[in-house]
């Protein structure tokens, strides 16, 4: 993932993820649900990611594992952006 994307994802998770600690202290692979993100906060994160990156998570990606960590979110967005580039 690019550092710009990384920063943007981190900002969005910090703003919408309702984490119990500062997002700056969360590592890329740390479990966001263990860090306090609820299912409903997950959706707010998802909607913000869709707005900022101009993407839409398809049905098959609407599962907990897609949003489990900052790295997992980055992987998912990379896939969606590359699909858009090749479309």
């Amino acid at each position: 993932m690019t550092s710009n994307m990384d920063d943007e994802i981190r900002r969005i998770v910090g703003a919408h993820g309702h984490l119990s600690s500062d997002v700056g202290t969360v590592s890329d692979r740390q479990d966001l649900f263990h860090a306090g993100m609820t299912s409903h906060a997950n959706v707010n994160v998802m909607l913000a990611l869709e707005d900022v990156f101009d993407i839409e998570f398809p049905e098959e990606m609407l599962r907990r594992s897609t949003f489990q960590s900052l790295a997992a979110i980055g992987d998912a967005i990379s896939i969606l952006l590359s699909e858009r580039m090749s479309a």
Binding site: S39, N42, V43, M46, F57, E60, L62, R63, R64
Partner: protein, 313 residues
């Protein structure tokens, strides 16, 4: 991922099967129609079966569970804490009442007489209709639980706004639940043992039962994530029985592990000070009644004695 409509298999052919079964129930005088789908009057014979099913569930928990019967309405403040609005906004029902003065009353009647929207004059009441029989229970558990947790047998009416010609999908129906609030081990053990007990009880009543992993009909895209999580973590198992030959079997009971959802929403702690977990084993009393009518015929007084002896012992 299937949509709720696909899960229950609504389509042209199933509509026919639903309407036929419902027509048979009407013709036998067991159910009486109203002007909306999913709301029915019930005969004395139907209610006699209901009583037998309720008693059968009670026998599963006698001596171990504290019985509490709740009315069909729930404090709005309690409803707001259940999270139901976020997950199932399309199924809930809110009660609204008139609290205005003479001038507002005049406007109310004027709109009624002009076929206008008089409901705009109403205000939300302090109660909503119950979505799940166990919701009223959790405020009673706020605070610290005893070492052994708390165990309840709950009865109540539920409302879900999903009008359908399928008589097993009523808008108001009775739920009978066995609920455990305690530590995670207690909740999971209760979910699994209650499921086994429930399936055995229903098989003993002559129903062909199967247990399948299931998800609740959560709303929207959030619902897809929640439903997938529920399936991945095997939190919900339904006891299903065949009613319609071309459809998936119908769920007539479910065993649900809510994890710490209600424990955290209602500030319930275990004896050791951790957030409490909960599980419930829920019996859809009207659906079980209809499954019995389907399995054994529409005259319960001619059912096999091995069924009636158990039901009305």
């Amino acid at each position: 991922m299937t949509t709720p409509a696909e899960t229950i298999g609504i389509g042209a052919s199933s509509d026919t099967a639903f309407v036929e079964f419902r027509h048979e129930l009407f013709a036998a005088g067991l159910l009486h129609p109203t002007s909306v789908d999913g709301v029915y009057g019930k005969s004395a014979a139907y209610e006699r079966i209901v009583e037998g099913v309720l008693a059968s569930v009670t026998r599963l928990g006698v001596g171990r569970f504290e019985a509490v019967h709740f009315p069909p309405v729930l404090a709005r403040s309690t409803f707001d804490r259940t999270g139901y609005l976020s997950s199932f906004p399309d199924l809930m029902g809110s009660l609204h009442v008139f609290e205005g003065n003479d001038r507002a009353h005049t406007e109310l009647v004027r709109r009624y007489e002009a076929d206008g929207d008089w409901s705009e004059i109403l205000k939300p009441a302090e109660v909503v209709v119950c979505s799940a029989a166990c919701h009223a229970l959790y405020p009673l558990c706020t605070g610290r639980l005893p070492e052994a947790g708390r165990w309840f047998e709950i009865q109540g009416y539920c409302f879900r706004h999903e009008p359908s010609p399928d008589p097993t999908r009523m808008q108001t129906f009775r739920m009978h639940e066995l609920v455990c609030v305690g530590d995670p081990d207690m909740a999971v053990t209760h979910r699994d043992s209650g499921l086994a007990d429930g399936l055995r009880m229903l098989r003993d009543l002559g129903l062909e039962m199967d247990a399948v992993p299931a998800n609740d009909p959560f709303f929207g895209r959030l619902g897809t994530i929640l439903a997938n999580t529920q399936l991945e973590e095997a939190l919900k198992i339904e006891g299903v029985t065949p009613i319609y030959p071309t459809e998936k079997p119908t769920a007539i009971m479910s065993a649900n592990y809510a994890q710490d959802h209600f424990g955290s929403s209602f500030s319930i702690e275990t004896a050791s000070g951790n957030v409490a977990h909960s599980s419930c084993v829920a019996f859809g009393i009207d659906r079980i009644t209809l499954a019995l009518l389907h399995a054994h015929g529409l005259d319960p007084y001619r059912w096999p004695p091995e069924v009636t002896d158990r039901l009305w012992r």
